[in-house]
């Protein structure tokens, strides 16, 4: 029997099939890349500890935005583009020179000895109350600080006052756009300061650090100690 010649497949409709697929993808997909500013909300504790510490006014940067999108910072009406310098001052003005501005948070030196005493104190507390989450996180923090001290030449670093916070207050009518501008400025200051710390201490590039990466976690923890990001948002009054 003679071999039958296999006929060539007609590829004329190949283009149509590809077109169909192409149009399907054009319709169902978007070019948009999702980007955003990540934040963590405070954990809701079942029995919140009684905090009745008097907080020094110098440690609080109060940023208020009202329903007309006006900004009141430290009891002064300001424009949004003035906020960057105010936040930067809040972080840095007393860091280099000691107590230049007594209305801004102070910095203290932390070294290995201080870390040791604090960890010992917390160990005593944890023995009495092993499940206390506040003590546990506090102990973790001091252990990070200890590692940090040991890795820096001279064995100490300047720490911003532990109570220093930025307080955000909004009203119901404050626009989300303004809120995001404030958040963006806060993030910008922290990012820039952390980049500087990275350069000073010879850490890898700050923007390349990834929390999922176990090698980077230590760097991130150290940077969080060096340039803390403490933002408290008050509830909107009803």
């Amino acid at each position: 029997m003679a071999r039958r010649e296999v006929g060539e497949i007609n590829a004329g409709s190949m283009a149509d099939i590809a077109f169909l697929l192409l149009i399907f993808f054009l319709v169902t997909t978007t070019m948009e890349v999702d980007a955003g500013i990540g934040r963590q909300l405070p954990i809701k504790l079942e029995n919140p500890p009684d905090i009745n510490i008097e907080i020094n006014k110098r440690n609080v940067l109060e940023i208020m935005a009202n329903s007309n999108d006006q900004l009141l910072v430290e009891n002064k009406w300001i424009e949004i583009d003035e906020l960057y310098d105010i936040v930067l001052d809040f972080y840095t003005i007393n860091k280099v020179n000691k107590d230049v501005d007594i209305n801004m948070p102070n910095y203290t030196d932390v070294d290995v000895n201080i870390c040791n005493t604090e960890i010992n104190k917390l160990n005593v507390l944890l023995e009495k109350d092993p499940e206390n989450i506040v003590f546990k996180t506090e102990k973790n923090k001091w252990e990070t600080k200890m590692i940090l001290c040991k890795s820096i030449d001279g064995g100490s670093y300047k720490e911003m006052n532990k109570q220093a916070i930025i307080q955000l207050k909004n009203q119901g009518g404050t626009s989300y756009g303004l809120y995001m501008e404030i958040q963006n400025i806060l993030k910008q200051v922290v990012n820039e300061l952390r980049v500087l710390e990275c350069e000073r201490l010879g850490f890898p590039d700050y923007f390349e650090l990834k929390e999922q990466n176990p090698d980077d976690q230590e760097y991130i923890a150290k940077l969080r100690v060096l340039v803390p990001e403490r933002i408290i948002e008050s509830k909107i009054d009803r």
Binding site: L21, T29, T30, A35, G36, L41, N170, S175, G177, N184
Partner: protein, 150 residues
């Protein structure tokens, strides 16, 4: 078979289209790589704010999206509304229930980021209510969606 065509019309030869599928496939692959699937049909209009510090969201599988904006369908009203997946939420309470239903197997709700895509003119009351609702169910990782600018 004559060597010289007599009287026959001299047609222009057709363009060779055998490379057309290749070109189309190339376009197809470009779009497959460069784009992402649309998550939902938008029921609300969202003009995102701009932010210079925005960073791209890495693994979208572990992110839930909440849209807050003004309804596109005028019959719904003009007040800002929350959109969860393809539907408008009746109230803020629905956010918590929706979020808990969406928890992936083997993950806790704490680990799954909630991305808030909010229209820049929406008031903070609604946003704050949603955040409070998320905090109640311990979904504390959030991401304020914004367009990256230089």
């Amino acid at each position: 078979m004559s060597k010289f065509r007599k009287g026959g019309k001299k047609g222009i030869p057709g363009v060779n289209t055998s490379a057309l599928p290749d070109i189309i496939f190339m376009l197809l692959f470009f779009f497959m790589v460069a784009t992402t699937m649309k998550e939902v049909d938008m029921q609300v209009e969202v003009v995102k704010p701009e932010a210079s510090q925005a960073v791209p969201i890495e693994n979208k599988d572990d992110v839930d999206f909440i849209y807050i904006g003004f309804p596109i369908d005028a019959a719904v009203g003009t007040e800002p509304r929350i959109q969860l997946d393809d539907r408008l939420a009746p109230n803020t309470r629905a956010v918590g229930e929706w979020k808990l239903l969406k928890v992936r197997e083997g993950k806790t709700v704490v680990k799954i980021v909630t991305s808030l895509k909010v229209h820049e003119d929406v008031g903070m009351r609604l946003v704050s209510d949603v955040k409070e609702e998320l905090r109640d169910i311990n979904a504390i990782k959030i991401n304020y969606s914004a367009d990256k600018i230089k």
